[in-house]
């Protein structure tokens, strides 16, 4: 291919005549050498191909992979954010529900505590009344017992005194008379 290009160039030079000599002169003045340029172009093309094949393509593939990873990461982050928002909403709902439930429990506890206090108060009142009644009964019994004891003691004293008086005052005639009456009473049984 390079040889055909050089051949075409030589042919053009030969057929150019006088006009071509001007171009050739310019090319000489600027140091342009067609075979060198062609060789450089070929070398550039080869280098380009090699770079494209073994450098740019893997780099681009790596970039594509990284872009994909970044895109996935962003997508994942968005999903995470959505899920985070949902979780926050759910947790807020749970907190609200828990608050309502806690309020219910507190109300129930207050109600139970009030009922318990009322019950305790009623029991205390009942117990106090019962204790009072028992105390009154005990006082009444004690009073009766004291009266009985006093009555018994008085009776004992009266009897003892009467016995002593009778022992001194009764004469034999009185006793004989009483004995006769007792004999009649006992023999009539």
């Amino acid at each position: 291919m390079l040889s055909s290009i050089l051949l075409v160039a030589n042919t053009a030079t030969e057929h150019g005549g006088e006009a071509a000599s001007g171009i050739t002169k310019i090319m000489d003045d600027f140091g342009i050498n067609v075979p060198n340029i062609a060789a450089q172009a070929l070398s550039f093309a080869i280098v380009m191909f090699v770079l494209w094949r073994f450098a740019f393509k893997p780099v681009l593939a790596t970039l594509d992979v990284r872009n994909q990873k970044i895109s996935d990461g962003l997508k994942h982050a968005e999903e995470t954010q959505v899920r985070l928002a949902a979780a926050a909403q759910e947790s807020a709902q749970i907190v609200r529900n828990a608050s309502v439930e806690a309020q219910k429990i507190v109300d129930e506890a207050r109600k139970v505590a009030k009922e318990f206090a009322d019950k305790q108060q009623a029991e205390a009142v009942s117990r106090a009344a019962e204790t009072l009644a028992k105390a009154q009964q005990s006082i009444e019994l004690e009073h009766r017992k004291m009266l009985d004891q006093a009555r018994g003691e008085i009776a004992r004293l009266v009897v003892t005194t009467t016995e002593r008086v009778l022992a001194k005052k009764l004469s034999d005639a009185d006793r004989a008379s009483y004995n006769e009456a007792a004999t009649k009473e006992l023999t009539a049984l």
Partner: protein, 130 residues
Amino acid sequence: MAADKKTKLLAKQLFKLSVVDGTVSPEQVTGVLGWIEKHSPRHPTALLKTYYRYIATELAKSVASVEHAGPIGDATLKQIEAAMTKKYQRPVTATAKANPKLLAGLRIRVGSDLFESSVSHQLATLSAAV
């Protein structure tokens, strides 16, 4: 030693043999004691104790122990004997015993029966009633 059932039964039978017409006969008692001495039954001591208790109880039923405070005449004792004899349908003899604690009146004991009409008894009744 406590008398067993057979000994008590034998003592009861001997006691019944000792009673004639509702009173304890000394001749019968002598005969019973002779029989016990001759035959020497089982547990003779327990038998004799049980027999003695029956005889003593029966004899006590024939005696009216009259406790009294103040004078008491023979006529009164005779009256009590007659009343008790009639009541128990057996001869009852009365024995007098002074008891000043009665203050006035009588207490008659025949066996386990007690009859009382005395000032101390009335005072005790009054004290118990109060």
